[in-house]
């Protein structure tokens, strides 16, 4: 598989009143053609900002400080606004978390869906509408032609997300970025949306970046997974390797199986205690150390780099941690009694 999207050392920060918020701190990853990459992490760890940085859809306070976003070798960060607009929607489609507010309440679905087709594909209005009707049926909305004349308020949340998916896929992008597309939906609808995206992906060969903080979705859809914390990638692995052999304490924590070294009884926690840091300074320590049961002295003095893990089952398994947690886990069990 050839590399479609190659992100190198991406850094994005926000100017705030008292300085900066370091939202994305040197993120690098690759996405292969037709692959699905899941991005997981708690709220505020920089998932959305990373993805918005790729096509520079950031709020005014944000600036991309360094990095490259190579789409088929071309750096998107160097494009002018006009070229970038061709990429947005044309090469990279996006869907967002809240389908209820993602459609313009003033324009009917047909006109809204037709616009990108007219703009990117040079279709006439009637061609674009005909195509939009097909697209609606493709995403599981029957009677597409009639529904084109309806307005967003006549659609439920799940239906709106289907419309958003149809729109973002309408110009056959090479990459579809889905930023927590199911978070705002009912559980049953969530599953339907996941299935829909899988189906479209398999049919069209689009590469997908799927942002979520729900690991259970990841197993079903992703080929590779990136785990983010405090604006860093802390672990990256093929999906099986990640679930079978997680190497970063934070990943373990997300899976709900973090042993408590501090606790007397050594009971297992289902959530990670504490909350992510503020990101107001670039840390010269491991940003996870205040919450990490494995933390050693070194964690408080040096920030670990993302490096290939020892004894990896797969060459692409990387983690940013000073400790080999497989060894500590054994010691932790032994230590639990003595504390």
């Amino acid at each position: 598989m050839s590399v479609l999207l190659d992100v190198q050392d991406l850094q994005t920060r926000f100017q705030v009143r008292k300085g900066f918020v370091y939202a994305v701190n040197g993120v690098s990853f690759q996405l292969d053609q037709g692959d699905t990459l899941a991005v997981v992490g708690e709220s505020g760890c920089g998932k959305s900002v990373t993805m918005l940085s790729l096509v520079r859809l950031l709020p005014p306070a944000a600036s991309i400080e360094s990095g490259q976003v190579l789409l088929r070798g071309e750096d998107l960060l160097q494009l002018n606004l006009r070229q970038l607009r061709d990429v947005r929607g044309g090469e990279i489609g996006m869907i967002f978390q809240d389908p209820m507010t993602s459609l313009n309440p003033f324009i009917n679905i047909g006109t809204q869906m037709a616009e990108p087709l007219i703009y990117h594909r040079g279709m006439s209005k009637s061609e674009a509408l005909a195509r939009s009707a097909e697209l609606l049926e493709m995403v599981g909305i029957p009677d597409g032609e009639a529904r084109l004349r309806e307005y967003p308020h006549q659609f439920s949340g799940g239906m709106r997300q289907r419309v958003m998916i149809a729109m973002s896929m309408s110009c056959e992008p090479a990459v579809l970025i889905a930023d927590e597309p199911t978070t705002a939906l009912d559980v049953t609808i969530q599953a339907q949306i996941v299935e829909l995206v899988k189906e479209l992906r398999d049919r069209s060969g689009v590469a997908v970046i799927w942002i979520t903080h729900d690991l259970s979705v990841v197993a079903g859809i992703a080929d590779r997974v990136i785990v983010m914390y405090a604006g860093y990638i802390v672990e990256e692995a093929p999906v099986d390797a990640l679930f079978e052999d997680p190497r970063h304490p934070y990943t373990v924590g997300l899976m709900g199986a973090l042993p408590s070294l501090a606790g007397e009884t050594g009971t297992r926690l289902t959530t990670i205690g504490g909350s992510p840091p503020d990101l107001v300074d670039l840390p010269d320590f491991c940003p996870f150390h205040p919450r990490c049961p494995y933390a050693i002295d070194r964690c408080r003095k040096e920030n670990p780099m993302l490096e290939p893990v020892i004894d990896a089952s797969d060459g692409g398994h990387r983690a940013a941690c000073w400790v080999d947690i497989r060894e500590v886990e054994l010691e932790a069990g032994a230590a639990a009694g003595s504390v």
Partner: protein, 323 residues
């Protein structure tokens, strides 16, 4: 208040109702609002009278009948006559013109100023935004009537002097009509008082719409900025603006009458309800109908605009469309 109806949905969440157009939809809601519909009638009448008033009046608004000064209402003079024997009914009809002119012109001026300042603030942000916010705060912190008096005291004399100079220079009769000075001062004062409201509203609208998800989604689809402005930002800002303008029109007419008490109003000979009220107030114990006519008209129009504004607010409120 209309009750918000919950549309039934099937498994796919397809709304049963087949409403197709938001504007039609809003119009239907407005038409269903009794108070708003009642309010529209006097407003339509007001505009009708403002346009055709001079053809409807039984008497010229200036015609003085010294034999019938301060006459009580009769079949000849429906609402009586004033001190100079002028027909009150005719003057009220003619006054509608002043009210509408004052309302429309001052609202138009303040809306244009507000649109420019508000958009600049909302779009450029930073220093410009701070400056506009500061200006609106300053203006709004000053009592409206005080502001009007200050404008009148400081500008009326120089303006009139300038008009006189222009007359002497050009011999153009236009510059002898002090009426224009009055109108400029009234419009100016009203616009000065009202623009900050519009500016803040538009600024807020732009800020909030710009951060809405559908704008982000449209940008993510590569839509050009101009398209996003005309198709996404402006239509979504219209509802609150229409409501504000409706309320503002009524508000301007009331303010104009308040100004009249302070001598900042439209001076005679143009009839203005405000001026008639303030004149009538001097004799309200002996000749209450002098006050009653214009006061009742003013009250009806104010209430009508308020009801219409309320109805528009309910009909156009985008929050009700969201869900």
């Amino acid at each position: 208040m209309t009750t918000q109806e919950i549309t039934p949905t099937d498994d796919f969440g397809i709304a049963e109702a087949s409403r197709t157009n938001l504007w039609k939809d809003a119009f239907a809601r407005l038409a269903a609002n009794k108070l708003a519909v009642i309010g529209i009638i006097p407003i339509v009448l007001l505009f009708f009278i403002a346009i055709f008033g001079p053809y409807l009046t039984p008497y010229d608004f200036l015609a003085q009948d010294f034999t019938a000064r301060l006459a009580a209402p009769s079949s000849e003079h429906w609402l009586g006559t004033d001190e100079l024997g002028r027909d009150v009914f005719s003057r009220i009809l003619y006054g509608a013109r002043t009210a509408v002119a004052v309302g429309l012109v001052s609202t138009a001026i303040s809306l244009i100023v507000g649109l420019i300042m508000g958009s600049l603030a909302g779009y450029l942000g930073g220093r410009v935004d701070m400056l506009v916010v500061w200006l609106t705060d300053m203006t709004r912190s000053m009592p409206a009537l005080l502001l009007a008096i200050v404008i009148n005291l400081t500008l009326k004399v120089p303006l009139e002097a300038w008009m006189e100079q222009m007359y002497l220079a050009t011999k153009n009769g236009f510059f002898r009509q002090t009426m224009w000075v009055d109108l400029v001062l009234v419009f100016g004062a009203l616009a000065l008082i009202q623009w900050p409201g519009y500016a803040r509203l538009i600024r807020g609208q732009i800020l909030s719409i710009r951060s809405r998800n559908y704008v982000l989604a449209a940008r993510a689809l590569g839509m050009p900025t101009g398209r996003i402005l005309t198709r996404y930002v402006i239509p979504n800002a219209m509802g609150p603006l229409i409501v504000a303008v409706s309320a503002g029109l009524g508000g301007a007419m009331v303010l104009e009458s308040a100004f009249s008490f302070l001598g900042v109003g439209v001076q005679l000979p143009i009839p203005s309800w405000g001026k008639m009220i303030s004149d009538g107030l001097r004799m309200w114990q002996t000749h209450p109908y002098l006050l009653a006519g214009p006061a009742v008209m003013m009250a009806i129009i104010t209430v009508s605009f308020a009801w219409l504004g309320d109805g528009l607010n309910d009909a156009l409120n985008p929050r009700q469309w969201g869900g």
